[in-house]
């Protein structure tokens, strides 16, 4: 069998971090340490680089960037990528693959987004959806918003109908990727 089919030996990869702030660096270090990487100083030899978009320097080392960057890199994730995504991206990049997050789509010069006014949520429905995303039960939402359980159920149904979903989990997934939390600066 070819070498490519052998399971990857569990070697510890050395990762250099370029973060925007010291607390951010600490947070990323913790994620990497927990995932079994060795965090090295910027000037030390590293197998991989993990960098915030604003801090990405020109490197020969395979790099995973969190946020936007103005040149091609091996790995490109959203600034808020979670520990699991960062780990998966680093391992893939170390194996010579290219990683892209679908949400970090290639932007381009685009038209003004005319909000599709069909299916927009009311302010109250947005509050209820926010609470659903926070994992609150209907009872907890009623208490928190100081409205009756009956009214909460009414709003939840309306949110489900407008988002075309049937469960709270589906609603959360849809809300994370939707127009309802988009903001406009005027």
């Amino acid at each position: 069998m070819s070498a490519a089919l052998k399971p990857t030996p569990s070697i510890q990869l050395r990762v250099a971090i370029h973060a925007t702030t010291p607390p951010r660096r600490m947070a990323l270090s913790k994620i990497l340490a927990d995932a079994g990487y060795i965090v090295v100083d910027a000037q030390d030899a590293a197998d991989l680089v993990l960098a915030d978009g604003d801090c990405a320097q020109i490197e020969d080392t395979p790099t995973v960037v969190l946020g936007s960057v103005d040149r091609p890199v091996s790995g490109s994730l959203l600034p808020g990528a979670d520990a699991h995504q960062i780990d998966a991206a680093l391992r893939a990049v170390a194996a010579g693959l290219i990683v892209r997050s679908p949400a970090a789509k290639e932007a381009g010069f685009d038209q003004l987004d005319e909000s599709d006014v069909q299916g927009l949520l009311t302010p109250r429905e947005l509050e209820v959806l926010g609470a659903i995303m926070g994992g609150f039960t209907n009872k907890a939402i009623a208490r928190h918003l100081d409205i009756s359980l009956h009214t909460v159920k009414f709003h939840v149904e309306s949110v489900f109908r407008k988002l075309c979903v049937r469960s709270r989990a589906e609603a959360v997934a849809r809300a994370l990727d939707s127009k309802h939390f988009r903001t406009i600066k005027l």
Binding site: D70, R71, F109, D110, D113, S115, L120, R182
Partner: protein
């Protein structure tokens, strides 16, 4: 070998002539990591390029057609129309730009620069021509021209020619790498302001807003089914000065409904600065209105 009466040969010769005629006006702007971006010589010392792909720096090295290099300074940028104006430290000879006319199905040539002073060409047809439009950054663009050309990253910012050699505009990468054109008319309108002021002034309200549905009970009073809810305000901005607070749902600005963003964007052009406008909004279940004066949007 080549038969000069052959149609395809003549067509091909005509294409190379078009490229030759314009290639002295195509330059490469050097970027970090050995990359470059294309620029278009508008006059002897001014080039325009794609603002979205030009790094936030003041000075660049520009490779002219033929390979000589000239240093250049960014003099103005307008994210709204994706136009950046860059001034060369020494003027070069330049031809004049003849505006072209976009027609659906007509032949279009996209000219880019290579890294060493040569040209690159791509051919396709004009895929769509639509009336004026507004970009997500609020700029007004005279015509929406879409090409069926697969533009290379480094070729963005170069001229798009019609079959007669007229310049349709500057190539720009749109969503999903679609090639669109910033029309010559827009470039000619925006560049003089960029050279004079370094930017395109726009009005603003100083508010971050979120599209929301108007609660059903208020639909009749509001006269519309959606509005923009205020999420946050800039201190001393026009909206804050008028007494708008977070949670208010703005229904109209200067009589233009917030149901359509382009109405609002059109109301906040350079001419709006200093104008007194009415803001109509919902607060605590009532429709009210306040007056404020539009100020100039601070530069980012």
């Amino acid at each position: 070998m080549s038969d000069p009466s052959d149609l395809l040969t003549r067509f091909s010769i005509a294409l190379t002539k078009r490229v030759t005629a314009v290639k002295t006006a195509v330059v490469a702007i050097r970027l970090p990591a050995g990359r470059h971006l294309t620029g278009m010589l508008l006059r002897a010392d001014v080039i325009v390029t794609s603002d979205q792909s030009l790094p936030k720096r003041d000075e660049f090295e520009v490779v002219m057609a033929g390979g000589s290099t000239v240093s250049a300074k960014v003099v103005g940028r307008d994210p709204g129309t994706n136009i950046a104006a860059v001034k060369l430290s020494q003027p070069v000879s330049s031809g004049s730009i003849i505006p072209g006319e976009a027609q659906v199905g007509a032949l279009a040539l996209a000219i880019g620069a290579d890294a060493n002073g040569g040209a690159r060409a791509r051919m396709g047809v004009v895929n769509a021509v639509e009336p004026e439009w507004y970009s997500s950054h609020g700029g007004r663009i005279d015509q929406r021209i879409v090409l069926d050309i697969n533009l290379g990253q480094s070729e963005e910012g170069g001229p798009i020619l019609d079959a007669a050699g007229g310049v349709l505009g500057m190539s720009t990468l749109g969503p999903r790498r679609q090639a669109i054109v910033i029309p010559t008319a827009t470039i000619e309108r925006v560049v003089p302001s960029l050279l004079r002021d370094g930017r395109i002034a726009r009005g603003w309200l100083g508010a971050t807003l979120r599209p929301v549905a108007v609660p059903e009970a208020l639909g009749d009073a509001a006269g519309q089914s959606s509005g923009l809810m205020v999420m946050s305000l800039t201190d001393d901005g026009p909206a804050a000065t008028a007494g708008i607070v977070a949670g208010d749902i703005i229904l109209s600005v200067d009589g233009a409904s917030t149901r359509r963003m382009r109405n609002i964007t059109a109301r906040l052009g350079a001419d709006s600065i200093g104008r007194k406008v009415d803001l109509r909004f919902i607060r605590s279940g009532t429709v009210t209105s306040r007056q404020t004066t539009i100020t100039e949007r601070p530069s980012p």
